[in-house]
């Protein structure tokens, strides 16, 4: 009679079937507080949901848990959606949570307002901190999910308006608890300078406040604030305001709006080029007109129109100069005449002989003086001469001859000693009157 005893596993599987086939238990909405929260290393979340009187085990598998935009913890009130089923191995029933959100949106708003006030006090929203969005970007960076309406809207809008613009998508999670750090990572990557971006669009499409929550996170706000690249925020719809919108350099109401702010239309550029063309042409026209006016006014001056007047003026001046010159010359001539007359009237010129007379008188006087002086000199010299002559006579060797002495010479040399002579030498004997030539016959020493 063993057949009436069931195997436990069979019972549990049967019970599980009852749970699984019950339409009410397939979709259950629960409100409760988390306790015994465990985050398994493989990503599944295990916890208990409880209220004042009861509790139920809960499991949230990784595939669902990654969509969470908050980190669950013990004591947190949450709203969950899931199905009730049995875990046969344990014989327990539990709720398999598919969606979970913090209970009470009021909490989120309070958090939002608190962060907004804090960052505002720090000056993150100040207008003067906002960078200008370039009018004509070469390359636009986009940080959003690689799928979905947002990226489609942004790229198609950019391509429609300004097809020569390049875009680079930095794919990021935009929902769930990993979204904020992922957005921060991609902002830093895009802003690293490696991609030469002129502007960055950061955003996502519409959703609930929980969906958009990553854009209300402080780390995202700070990353936007610290980026050097101008950032346009584009989160959700027009009515959605996030912290990212306040801190971004420009807020776009929608992703499409962000693309419109980021790039001009080709038509706008063409209009701009045309307006430059018109301005340039107008400017050149004016400049040439002005220059022509100046030229006209210069060429129409009296002098250039009446060149003879220039000549006349000179003519008059020449006359003046000639007159002055004539006056000068006449004056000079009369001056010279005066001087010349003075010359002509001078006594000397009129009586040149008077000059001669004077010279003649002087000459006579001089010649008289000269004669007189000369006579004096001659007389004096005569006298001296007589004295000298007498003296000479006294000392002349020949004067001795007067007294009867003779002078013997040989070859015009006076012989004083007989030893200077030899027998037969021819000698000359000079006497007072005349001389004789003799030959030596005998020498006596």
């Amino acid at each position: 009679m063993n057949e009436k005893y069931l195997k436990i596993s069979d019972l549990n599987i049967y019970i599980k079937t009852i749970f699984d086939e019950n339409p009410f238990l397939n979709k259950v909405f629960l409100r409760g507080e988390i306790s015994n929260f465990k985050n398994h290393s493989r990503g599944h979340l295990y916890f208990t949901l409880k209220d004042e009187a009861s509790r139920i085990s809960a499991v949230m598998f990784y595939s669902s848990a990654i969509t969470l935009n908050f980190t669950p913890e013990d004591g947190m009130n949450v709203l969950v959606e899931g199905r009730i089923s049995c875990y046969p191995a344990q014989g327990t029933y539990q709720i398999y949570v598919e969606k979970m959100e913090p209970d009470g949106l009021g909490n989120l708003y309070i958090e939002f307002e608190k962060l907004k006030e804090k960052l505002s006090k720090e000056g993150l929203f100040l207008e003067e901190c906002k960078k200008a969005i370039p009018k004509i970007p070469k390359r636009v960076g986009i940080i959003t999910a690689p799928t979905g309406a947002a990226i489609k809207d942004i790229i198609s809008t950019i391509k429609r308006r300004f097809p020569i613009c390049e875009t680079i998508l930095f794919p990021a999670l935009v929902q769930g608890r990993d979204a904020a750090p992922d957005i921060v990572r991609q902002i830093k990557e895009a802003d690293s300078g490696k991609y030469d971006l002129d502007v960055l669009i950061v955003g996502r499409g519409g959703g609930s406040i929980e969906d958009l929550w990553a854009f209300n996170e402080e780390i995202v706000a700070r990353a936007i604030y610290e980026a050097n690249t101008p950032i346009i925020s584009a989160v959700g719809h027009e009515i959605d305001f996030t912290i990212a919108d306040f801190v971004a350099d420009m807020r776009a109401p929608t992703p499409t709006g962000a693309a419109e702010m980021a790039v001009p239309t080709t038509t706008e550029i063409i209009n701009m080029l045309n307006s430059y063309n018109i301005r340039l042409n107008e400017f050149m026209h004016n400049l040439i007109h002005k220059s022509k006016l100046r030229l006209d006014s210069a060429t129409s001056s009296y002098i250039l129109k009446n060149p003879l007047s220039l000549y006349e003026l000179k003519e008059q001046k020449l006359d003046n100069l000639i007159e002055i010159l004539n006056n000068n010359i006449t004056k000079r001539i009369s001056n010279y005449n005066l001087i010349l007359n003075n010359f002509n009237n001078s006594y000397i010129l009129k009586n040149p002989y008077s000059l001669f007379e004077v010279k003649k008188e002087k000459l006579i006087y001089n010649s008289n003086t000269l004669y007189h002086n000369l006579n004096n000199i001659i007389t004096k010299n005569n006298h001296n001469y007589q004295i000298l002559l007498n003296t000479l006579k006294l000392v002349n060797p020949l004067s001795i001859l007067d007294k009867g002495y003779s002078l013997v010479t040989k070859d015009d040399t006076i012989i004083k000693n007989s030893t200077n002579l030899k027998i037969n030498d021819i000698i000359k004997i000079k006497m007072h009157e005349g001389s004789v030539t003799a030959q030596v016959e005998e020498i006596n020493k």
Partner: protein
């Protein structure tokens, strides 16, 4: 290297402003005007002949690859 559209447009802007400041002599103005007209023509042609630039996406390996929007 060929001038980029943006650089050409920026240069054009600078010249227009410079000319309109009124401190340019006629000879210099004519040169600048000629240059500006060349830039404007260049920009216009660039716009008209511009083909769609390919959109890129940064992969996990930090490589830029072509990106198509999936419809």
């Amino acid at each position: 290297m060929e001038k980029s559209f943006e650089d050409a447009l920026k240069e054009l802007e600078v010249i227009v402003k410079e000319l309109e400041s009124g401190n340019v002599e006629l000879d210099a103005a004519i040169d600048k005007y000629t240059e500006a007209m060349k830039l404007a023509k260049y920009c216009n042609e660039k716009l008209k002949t511009a083909t769609d630039k390919v959109n890129k996406i940064l992969t996990d390996n930090k490589e830029l690859v072509d990106f198509e929007i999936s419809e």
